[in-house]
Subunit: 491 residues, 4 copies
């Protein structure tokens, strides 16, 4: 996966979600004693008084996360997480709040902490605390705060976690290091991020993984939504919010035609841009051709581009030499991978002047007056300058909830101390829970048809090995190689 | 024309352009004496100190308005407006600043005033003043301020206008009423808005128009860009900035398939929405069908719509009965005409609760808890919640500049005391000035080919009557009636 | 109008409609006495025995011409053409057969003749005769036959026409020349073609038009369908049937971005081609840009084009110099205007070898072995190599039927001896009759809304001058000049 | 794979390729002694005299098969198939002729036979024979002829095959049964079809596969092209050639949203149809939603459909109950799997009347007069009624050629007696050979970038397990399950 969606809720530009939290005081939340309206004091957040505003944001998010709401309804009586004590470490946003409160509705006791020092929506944290879940997180933590919060989330009087929901692996890491004895009680780890999954595979390889773990990152549904569809939605949004640029007739150069590139190209073409593609992989290049895009080398079209968008997952795709040849006003941004795709170092030289014209928008000015418009300092555009639809996050969140339920309720022996992909059938179940949003009605196989196809009437409808590879994108091979190895164990 | 673009620069939601002007003081600009760096005091704006920030916004706008910049270059020596004294009344935004400064570059002396009490970008006004042009305008004028400013813009020591550039007709009205003697010196009026043009035709009809006037509103290029293309760009932007909604798979109901509706439908379909259309005109309905949209009555699809967008130019298109039947979470907004399309009165009743969840976003809550998401209180969505590309405004601004040049330089007798459309050839010239942006290269007719077609090599390439009617949209007939008066002979 | 749709039924390539008529005998139909099953001998066609096959083709066409079928139902009792004696001169195809038989169902007596010596579908002619309508036409008439047939269609014992339905003006011309006395009885002429309309305007200009005439060619609905939508459908079909070419990834050069060019570009882009446009008119060029096409000169992209399609209405658009620079295998065809757009003369030189590889497909071979693939010898591609949907023809045919009804029933004095466009309201009625095909449901204006818009609840919904100019295409100005004569007053 | 492209060259409708072979004599080719111009008599085809016409068709095909032509050039000196004796059993069409002659150019000796009794293009067979390759095939063989030809192709004086190129497995089967001793000399089998591959896996499972075999069917490139892109091209073509139907505004129901369904939906939507989808798999259904299609049950939309297209790979998807409820004129066709998807049996009942209105087009007439238009009797539409672009076939043919080269030249021990997929890198090589067609220019990784990604600069760029699963379609699991097992052996 190229796009690191776990960070996508940061909305520095328009700051809609920040409206309730503008007057950030100086004192550290750690120095402050607060209580929610029911007297709970076991939490540490910015300001419990922002709970009302946060509740409103959560309610807005609920509307676009019908699968979780659906899950709440279905499981109201059953309480499949009854007895589960979940410690969670994720971004703390309206959407994760919907997840947390769903877990609670399903019977779980939760404690929560942020996986990122900047991304916490303080008002949402307040609302979750007001709802009764201890949260340890605020926007703008220090490194020290970060680990202090994680520590506090794990340890509580008379409460020990038996499930871990992690995003990035820091919580898992801390428990391994600080509270190894807890691991005996842990019935499973659910991990969402590329990095966290990679760490788990390393543990497994080293024979040190002592808990079953579920790799949520590589589910089919998540892959398609986090990349192709999400980028189709967010590329236009990110460019508009930062530059108000008109798309019609503009010449756009998209570097990379994996899922992210496909999503960007499709949206830009649809709005009337003339799109060029660069590729290194001949198969992706052939797809780009057949989809109606000219495939050229960066150097061949760089002079005429109005926008350059990197989506390769590689490094130094756009370098100084290219930037030197771009025309005045060219917009440069990155939808791909961390902040390596554009060679920023080459732009921090004395002859170039940087001018911040808007938040997240820098003009880099050449000696001859030429200006290049750099967005988000080369970091992920949609992380920085657009929002990601709650619906997309809903798919990941639902997968996480189902993974927790599966691991918590699995009979002894179904899962060993290894990394697993969510069973195909659950992947299909997550998808089916989201169909109601579109008022989509599935057809059903007759007995006869199922027999003809040699599959069960209720799915899975595709073989299990489809899951990790339905896309043809730039992915680090190691995560998958290992994954597939694990598969042979589980099914 | 449905879309009233002259208001489109208001950006209350994201307020990017407002960054430099947040600390609005209490005292009225009328009570304040200010001077620009060259000592000029003949102006009245919020704060001259914001000039630097405004200049930056103007520079950003210049990049997307190449035709005006081009005009500056071409006319550097010629100065076709040398001797022109232009009093202008428009929105005061970065884009109009580019226009004003182009007129100055072409030789004109200008004085400027706002046509709207809310839309002035204070920092831009400051930059224009710093550049030497007297401006009388600030954001948040009172009614009294408004006319005071207009009055101040007209009168100056030893300066009397000989050209009027108006948007809405208020300036023209004021001069007619207060300074009729000035009209003798006025060589022409250039008017952009539907309303202003209508007023001019009424004057003409009544035999009271004593100055040649140019109707800029109905030029082909403007019509296409202000409606079809501009709405294609802004509908997605407006919806995203307010609601972060995902478009893929959503069922959207677009009321009206004129140019505005066509633009909206095209963009939404391209992003994966399922779009339904309502229409009253069978020809537009047939176009919608052929373009792949189901044409149904509002009542037939209202229950399943995720979004309802009005683009009819009519009133009470969406009424309480429809709103009662919408599903929870349905987004309702208006791209059409002022704020009449949604019956807002029916929503201000005691049993419905209004809740403002974000700027420009209200939840209207039914007794059973159903929430309808109303954007911009039913006013134009893109006026309130998105920006309009500078490029689109560039076309209008260029047309205005050319109209001024034409009227100012026309030989005696070419224009009488009537309302004119810009000659076809100038319309084509405006278009040609914008082709460079797209690096588009026009072909040229050979002598032989021109002869074959019976036209001049240099255009106009289409008959003049094409100009006002290349679209099949909802337009008030009166503006056109005059233009095509001859038609009444034929039928 | 560029596309001459009246010729489009010729299907020489696939010859589906020719299946029943393969064994063409030698003897002329003029030498043969035939009778239909009811004893009628007053006709002259190829072979009455083909009637069954022709009837099947007519039945197929009826399915796609619901408006005419609808008209039959509605008018069953009313018989608005009762007393009408229509002499018609059109292509004789399954679709015109549906028109003829509709006129009969509405009460008219008809006699029919072909407007083209090649386009008659013999079997269809037989079926129409078997149905009781005298037809004088066969495929492959000589010039002499052509006029003989026209003469026979006009004159019959005790039968004199009082209405003319013409396509091209030859019938009208013949009556003017040979039977001027008949004109006194004629209540109206309905003319479909550009050429025929032009002739009528000339007559009118010369003061010689002594009958009211209806110009069907310039109705809004016909313009949109015959050009934009029809070309969108037929460009792919014509290319596939002749060359089996794959569209995905191919570089296509479309010359001209009027309605025909727009239709071609839209379809080709949708199927994955990379499309370039050439234009002489800056307004059309700007539209092409905004729609996502690079606008370049022919010479700039000629080397890389896989296909070149002319849609300009001009002559010598593609000349030898361009052809010399095309790459091997480049496909060249014309969707525009007669056969002038490609300079064929320059290809008939001794150093180039022509090789017919399939019907309508020639390879032109350069001395170095390069092959250019020329389709339909530069004549209209969709005339020669594809079919036009019956639905499109249905719109024209319905308009013709309504024009006949209008002229036949109009009260004394409504129409003078001039050329008229179909009233706007009828244009809208034609459209509305076709909506049922799409199961489209029109909305209706409330009294209040109609009043607000200042129009009638039942239309017309747009001002009448919209009709002739809703497109921005390459059209010969003369046909319109008359219609909008009044315009010359304004400027 | 659903689409069985190996049959796609049959062109019964338009019969372009049949032009040279219309006068089919009565006598069996087996009774006739013919010689080519060089005296060769070791062949059995319809008529050697048609060679010239066939050669022209081959030359046309060559233009769209640049990869093979490229391969010829590159390998001119190297002759990598020198010493190879290939017996091939495929459809005999212009495109396979290009493949055969490429193998010869690479050094192979070939003998060829048809894999289907109907699909041979007689003229092409003649041209191949005239070129020196013995062919045993004609259009309209009997069952007995079929096996007689196969037998003749295998056995020749002093010639024994050492490579097999098969399509369907009949040739392989015959050698296994009749000439098992030959298998010792065979260095490899290359098999293209689903069926043939399935047979090979069965042999392998049973321990009876005694030769390395290459599964060409499941290469990434072939999958994408044969399904998604090919169906996008051919669905429109097939419908137009048979019914001349207009797509704009038509309501189309596509059953199944795998690769085939995706291709069909994309093309139809692009041409203005309103498309509905049915699905059983929630993941595919969710994709359809996000792509803008309503997902409904067949029974919910059957009444309003103008066309119903099956793409499921399942059986009895459209049954009598559905057909009874369709509206008059509804077109029904199959793009999916053999002829099982539409329940034809239910239509062969006494109360329904069948009427053949055109080749491949039947009207089925209900007692009340309703007509359903059934295409190709429910067999694959594009097999029967359209052509498949040579370019698509080029990809398969190139893959076959490379597979032959690989197996023939592989060092002892690289391939065991098992079924293999083409190495990923070769898949990429096939793709790269086709990029020239699009004038596409690949970018190259720098050493640094390759290191960063952990891959080789020259590919493969994706992990090998990507190959068989880049699509999410309805595929029989067995072919893949086994395939993947095989994979673990080879890489």
């Amino acid at each position: 996966m190229i796009q690191c969606l776990r960070l996508l809720n940061v909305k520095p530009l328009c700051g809609v979600s920040g409206c309730g939290e503008s007057s950030e005081e100086e004192s550290s939340p750690r120095d402050k004693l607060q209580r929610n309206s029911k007297g709970l004091a076991d939490f540490c957040i910015k300001n419990i008084d922002q709970a009302d505003f946060g509740r409103r944001e959560i309610e807005v998010a609920q509307q676009e996360m019908p699968a979780l709401m659906n899950l709440r309804k279905r499981a109201e009586e059953e309480k499949p997480l009854s007895g589960a004590k979940v410690v969670g470490c994720t971004h703390i946003t309206a959407q994760t709040a919907v997840l947390i409160e769903t877990l609670v509705a399903l019977g779980a006791q939760c404690r929560w902490v942020a996986c990122n020092i900047f991304s916490t929506q303080n008002a949402v944290a307040a609302a979750v605390v007001e709802g009764g879940v201890p949260v340890f997180a605020w926007k703008g933590e220090s490194e020290d705060d970060f680990w202090w919060c994680i520590d506090r989330s794990v340890c509580a009087d008379a409460w020990q976690p038996n499930m871990i929901l992690d995003d990035g692996g820091d919580l898992t890491h801390w428990i391994y290091k600080k509270y190894p004895s807890l691991l005996k009680r842990i019935r499973g780890i659910v991990e969402e991020s590329v990095t966290g999954v990679f760490r788990l595979y390393q543990l497994s390889k080293a024979g040190k993984l002592c808990v079953p773990a579920m790799n949520v990152n590589d589910s089919v549904t998540k892959q398609k939504f986090d990349n192709l569809y999400c980028c189709r939605e967010s590329i236009l949004d990110g460019l508009k919010r930062t530059t108000d640029v008109m798309f019609g007739g503009k010449q756009v150069l998209v570097c990379g035609y994996g899922e992210v590139g496909k999503g960007c190209c499709s949206a830009l073409k649809a709005l009337g841009a003339v799109v060029y593609v660069t590729e290194v992989d001949p198969i992706c290049a052939l797809q780009a051709c057949m989809d109606g895009f000219r495939v050229l080398k960066l150097s061949e079209v760089i002079r005429q581009a109005d926008m350059v968008i990197t989506c390769t997952g590689n490094k130094n795709v756009v370098v100084r030499e290219h930037l030197d040849r771009m025309k005045n006003g060219c917009i440069v941004c990155n939808m791909g991978h961390s902040n390596t795709e554009i060679d920023l170092v080459s732009l921090h030289t004395s002859e170039l002047k940087w001018e911040r014209v808007r938040p997240q928008v820098d003009h880099i000015i050449w000696p001859d007056g030429k200006r290049i418009v750099l967005l988000a300092e080369g970091r992920l555009l949609n992380l920085s300058c657009s929002t990601v639809p709650s619906f997309v996050l809903s798919i990941t969140a639902t997968t996480q909830a189902l993974a927790l339920i599966e691991l918590f309720n699995a009979p002894e022996g179904r899962y060993k101390q290894d990394v697993y992909l969510l069973p195909k059938k659950m992947d299909e179940y997550v998808a089916s829970l989201h169909l109601a949003t579109f008022d989509a009605h599935l057809s059903e196989l007759s007995d006869d048809q199922a027999k003809y196809l040699g599959i069960s009437k209720n799915g899975p409808f595709k073989p299990s090995y489809y899951r990790s590879a339905n896309t043809h994108t730039h992915t680090h091979t190691h995560t998958h190689t290992h994954t597939n190895a694990g598969l042979s164990n589980c099914f």
